[in-house]
């Protein structure tokens, strides 16, 4: 569905991604793991057009999208939930969700019902302002808003950031449900254990390069992953 080949991203003189190659197949949950500054968010920003690559190619359903501008991605069926949630603080929950359907004509009431079914708390809070929600509710709102454009590929940037463990469980359960409903998910996470338990496959980024990849079950037992990202002692882990 999504293929990235030898993509290089630079911020001015600094190279953030040194030619990375990965793919996401239809119906999968794929996770990108890595430490701070490894290039996870950059990868996501690149895939959604916010930071176009200087070289390399990105194809989505056989179509080159490396030069497509960010605001045209919604039309393609790619929806990005940016890092830090970025909901509209002075719009109500419902208005936030409506904004998600900006590029779509026609009624949104059915989609709203769907979102409220997935996130009942948002229905309760639908008249409240975005800024008055808790962190977890804001994350749900950000995901709900992205789903309003009926994406086929959902890009999630650190959905667990700054959330209580219980809320993280809920969010991850819902990501699973979203996939079950037919949306492919590319998930960037620091919470490697959680992400790998949910995902089908994973890639490990280090300093702008992919150093490891494979099915989640293999990565979960890989000694390097266990040592670096699951915080276990190498010997104890193996």
């Amino acid at each position: 569905m999504l293929e990235v080949t030898d993509a290089v991203v630079r911020y001015g003189a600094i190279t953030a991604l040194h030619g990375i190659t990965f793919e996401v197949n239809e119906g999968e949950i794929v996770t990108l793991l890595g430490a701070n500054g490894a290039g996870k968010s950059t990868t996501l920003r690149m895939v959604s057009g916010l930071q176009p690559p200087v070289s390399g190619s990105i194809t989505f359903r056989g179509r080159d999208i490396s030069r497509t501008r960010a605001h045209d991605f919604a039309k393609l069926g790619v929806s990005h939930v940016p890092e830090g949630r970025r909901i509209f603080p002075q719009m109500s929950v419902e208005e936030n969700l409506e904004m998600g359907a900006f590029r779509r004509r026609g009624s949104t009431s059915e989609d709203l019902e769907g979102i409220y079914e997935t996130f009942p708390i948002l229905k309760e809070r639908r008249k409240q302002l975005g800024s008055n929600l808790s962190g977890g509710e804001q994350q749900m709102l950000a995901i709900g808003r992205a789903l309003m454009s009926r994406p086929t590929l959902l890009l999630l940037d650190e959905p667990s950031m700054g959330l209580a463990p219980m809320i993280v469980d809920t969010i991850f359960r819902i990501i699973g449900e979203i996939r079950a409903a037919g949306t492919t998910v590319l998930l960037v996470e620091q919470n490697a254990a959680h992400a790998l338990r949910l995902a089908d496959r994973g890639y490990v980024l280090e300093n702008g390069r992919i150093v490891l990849s494979g099915p989640s079950s293999e990565l979960l037992v890989d000694p390097r992953v266990r040592a670096v990202y699951l915080g276990e002692d190498v010997e104890a882990g193996s």
Binding site: S48, L50, R69, A70, H71, D72, F73, A74, K75, S79, H80, P82, R86, I87, F88, P89, Q90, M91, E95, E98, M99, G100, F102, R103, Q128, L129, G130, S131, N132, R145, A146, S149
Partner: protein
């Protein structure tokens, strides 16, 4: 002793005394060798003309003022919260009625009828012309700038440029400039309107397309530069714009279509109706836009540009649109001013002018159309009054001191403006419900 000065009421008294001292010095007569403290003591003559009731030295008057102000502050600290709560309870009903659409439309119609009758109510030559030159033109400019600053959140410090382009287009179309008019012969000033609108919209797009990728302060500086460039062009392109002397030959507008012919003359009232008509037209256009898809896109961009972009909104497109739409009303204002005044100088289009308009928008409430109109009317009427019948010692530039002080006071007590936009107002009520704090904290602590 030290403890005494640290008590809150005493500290407030000291602050008020300090502020009053500064005000007294600013408004007082300048000192001289013979009267070094004239700013405080003033003269008996001046004191008499200040109030007319009693003859005393200035410092007595100001000390009394300070004590009264302190009394009010202390009373408000003591009873204020109760009064505020009771007022908000009492207003809840009327406010709900006021939110209903038919009520709002009815209220707007009543105001419109009042505005139509106004020149006959004041029935005074100065005020009839002030309604055009001080009020209507500025309302037109303020609601246009509100689209750029309030709706789309773009700080434009060169708004005067669009006003200038509108005015110069009028001069060009009517053959008052050294440049030959379009199609070789001069047209009526009325036909300058379509030309002016097209030109300012083009200017808005030309300025916007390359610069609106910038954000915040950077954009403000570029627009400031644009305003200066237009003024300098007008000043220096002698063969095209008439240079620093401008032109004094702009004819009054004539509306002439088929059998209908109407000529605007020297009397201000017909210009008032022309300006009022434009204000109403733009009020309708802007409020429809605000509620449309475009308006929602502007709100989204203002609140979070990256999020808006990832939801499929093209930020550049909508920002350029805001610039062009906002410029249109300034173009109108330029046409009306130029053809009413008959003359035109580059020196009237200054940075100060842009900032004045911005102040009207901020005081009224950014993003709130009704607030901006009310704010502009109040400030401009007060300004016209002060220029017409200045109190003792008042000079025109003094206005900036008072407007500056008013701005600072507003930022402390009512940061969202006189009539905050619907969104801001809703935020305040929600905040009051969820927290027991000062409602304005919701607006100050905007760290999301």
């Amino acid at each position: 002793m030290r403890e005494f000065f640290q008590r809150a009421p005493i500290r407030r008294l000291l602050v008020i005394l300090g502020v009053v001292l500064v005000v007294e010095l600013i408004t007082g007569p300048p000192g001289s060798n013979e009267h070094p403290v004239a700013g405080f003591t003033g003269s008996y003559h001046e004191a008499a003309s200040y109030f007319g009731l009693f003859r005393t030295q200035r410092w007595v008057v100001f000390l009394t003022l300070a004590l009264v102000a302190w009394g009010i502050t202390e009373f408000w600290n003591w009873r204020g919260p109760t009064i505020r709560a009771r007022a908000s309870d009492a207003l809840a009903g009327p406010r709900q009625v006021g939110e209903k659409r038919p009520v709002r439309v009815g209220f707007a119609l009543v105001l419109l009828v009042l505005a139509i009758l106004l020149p006959h109510i004041v029935n005074n030559a100065f005020w009839q012309s002030a309604l055009v030159t001080y009020v209507a033109i500025y309302v037109l400019l303020a609601i246009g700038l509100n689209v750029v600053v309030g709706f789309a959140g773009l700080l434009d410090l060169g708004y005067v440029a669009f006003y200038a382009i509108g005015a110069y287009t009028t001069a060009w179309v009517t053959g008052a400039l050294p440049t030959p008019p379009p199609f070789g012969h001069a047209l009526d000033a009325f036909w300058a309107i379509p030309f002016a609108v097209v030109f300012v919209v083009i200017a808005g797009v030309l300025l916007g397309a390359p610069t609106l990728r910038l954000r915040g302060d950077y954009l403000a500086i570029v627009t400031l530069g644009f305003g200066e460039i237009i003024t300098i062009f007008a000043n220096n392109l002698y063969g095209i714009t008439g240079g620093s002397t401008g032109t004094k030959q702009i004819p009054h507008p004539v509306f002439h279509v088929g059998p209908i012919k109407y000529t605007w003359g020297l009397a201000p009232v017909p210009y008032y109706y022309l300006a009022l008509g434009s204000v109403v037209l733009f009020l309708i256009i802007f409020s429809l836009l605000q509620r449309s898809r475009v308006g929602r896109a502007w709100t989204a961009i203002r609140e979070d540009e990256v999020a808006a972009e990832s939801l499929g909104i093209n930020p550049l497109k909508f920002k350029v649109m805001a610039f062009a739409v906002g410029a249109a009303s300034a173009g109108f204002a330029g046409v009306i001013t130029a053809s009413a005044d008959n003359f035109l100088f580059p020196s009237s289009f200054t940075l100060t002018f842009s900032i004045n308009i911005l102040v009207l928008v901020i005081l009224g409430g950014m993003g709130s159309i009704s607030g901006v109109v009310v704010g502009a009317v109040i400030i401009q009427v007060v300004q016209a009054y002060l220029n017409h019948t200045p109190p003792a010692g008042y000079q025109q530039p003094d206005l900036y001191i008072y407007v500056g002080a008013l701005l600072i006071t507003m930022m402390i007590f009512r940061p969202a403006g006189l009539i905050p936009s619907r969104q801001r107002r809703r935020e305040i009520t929600l905040y009051e419900k969820s927290h027991e704090g000062h409602p304005d904290e919701a607006l100050l602590g905007d760290d999301v």
